[in-house]
């Protein structure tokens, strides 16, 4: 049955696959899991559209016990397999359900393949709280700044994905929907980058749950104007971090993110114009 329970489970499945991909070290499996997570995100979009057309309610709540932490890759895969099997019990005979079921049957086959063919289970360090950046020697202050930044910004990127996603489903024109898609794609990349960095430092964790006040937008103009200010703030956070970190590679990365934020502001300005015709 297509209802808010299914939506919640699909939302969790997208998060689970994305965060497993951040946690895993094997490059091939990492890439495949991330692709699967993007497929799940597309499912979520189609599901939201269907539910909106049917006047069904959905929200971004998650089960209070929902967790992604595990010690090994096999543990993560077993949890994902069980979660997919539970999701399948909700599907009906619609074309959308068929599509989702087929995609996930392929995912199940891939996961079972990893469990059968990998001779050694990968021990994960993504959740060990070591808080050490392995690629460079950072000072205590740099380490603290990087930790805080990653927690703050990974939440923000998740929040932005879900806020833009909510608005995209309710876009009034195709152009608006395209702009929202650009913003969603950009935030996916940022979330992935920050998530992988958190995993490297052993501090990977789920962003906190979103309250409906965060994503139900009643005044789009006000939201976009605030969004521009928020992007400016994100730019400033990147700039501060980039200038406080002496490691050149890390510093360059944050400059790169900073420039991307600049263009988000341009997209949001275009959206504001589009809103006014």
């Amino acid at each position: 049955m297509i209802d808010e329970t299914l939506f919640r489970r699909k939302h969790q499945l997208w998060l689970r696959l994305a965060f497993i991909s951040f946690a895993v070290n094997n490059p091939w499996i990492k890439k495949r899991l991330y692709e699967f997570s993007l497929i799940e995100f597309r499912h979520l979009k189609w599901l939201a559209q269907t539910m909106l057309e049917n006047d069904s309610n959905y929200n971004y709540d998650r089960d209070p016990t929902f967790n992604i932490e595990a010690e090994t890759l096999f543990d993560l895969l077993h949890t994902a397999i069980n979660e997919i099997k539970v999701v399948h019990m909700f599907y009906n005979g619609s074309a959308l359900s068929e599509r989702m079921r087929n995609d996930e049957n392929y995912m199940l086959q891939s996961f079972e393949g990893y469990l059968t063919n990998l001779s050694i289970d990968e021990k994960l360090s993504a959740f060990d709280r070591s808080r050490i950046w392995p690629d460079a020697l950072l000072s205590h202050e740099e380490n603290d700044a990087l930790t805080l930044f990653l927690f703050e910004e990974s939440y923000k990127e998740y929040e932005l994905i879900m806020v833009y996603f909510y608005s995209q489903i309710r876009a009034e024109t195709a152009v608006q929907a395209l702009y929202f898609q650009d913003l969603i794609d950009e935030s996916h990349f940022h979330l992935r980058s920050f998530g992988e960095m958190m995993a490297k430092m052993g501090i990977l964790s789920l962003p906190r749950m979103l309250h409906p006040r965060t994503y139900i937008i009643e005044d789009m103009e006000h939201f976009l104007t605030n969004g521009i200010a928020e992007e400016e703030n994100a730019k400033e956070e990147c700039r501060k971090l980039s200038s406080s970190i002496t490691d050149e590679k890390l510093s360059t990365f944050f400059d790169f993110i900073n420039y991307q934020e600049s263009y988000h502001i341009e997209i949001m300005k275009k959206l504001l114009k589009e809103k006014h015709g």
Partner: protein
């Protein structure tokens, strides 16, 4: 990050919001009281990590305590953060205002009000230059 008491309550007796119209940031506070004792408490925010941490700390401080104790704890927390950075003062104000709003909502409901929650706008912003 695992903040304590994060998320809504099932059957709260009071729901309050502290928010900044300018920045769009908010804290929503859920209270469940019985005989002036706080049986359960929850909160959610779209604010920064300082807000999340302060919300976690404050809800832990007042859970299971009387409303009188909670008011005193709120005063003490405000006095403590007044010694710190302006940013933290704004975050604390958002949390404590939401708590106050939840108490107002609870009182209003007892008087027969049907409002879903009580919201109070705050005059400070979390995103301030220090």
């Amino acid at each position: 990050m695992h903040p304590r008491n994060y998320g809504p309550l099932e059957n709260p007796t009071g729901i309050g919001v502290g928010h900044s119209e300018k920045s769009g940031e908010f804290v929503i506070f859920y209270l469940l009281t019985e005989d002036r004792t706080i049986r359960s408490v929850g909160y959610a925010t779209n604010g920064c990590h300082d807000t999340v941490v302060l919300g976690s700390m404050f809800t832990e401080m007042i859970k299971g305590e009387s409303l009188e104790y909670a008011d005193k704890a709120a005063e003490k927390l405000q006095a403590k953060v007044a010694l710190g950075p302006v940013k933290q003062q704004a975050c604390a104000q958002m949390v404590l205002t939401a708590f106050k709003a939840a108490q107002i909502h609870e009182t209003n409901r007892l008087k027969g009000s049907k409002e879903e929650l009580h919201a109070i706008e705050i005059d400070m912003e979390c995103e301030v230059e220090e």
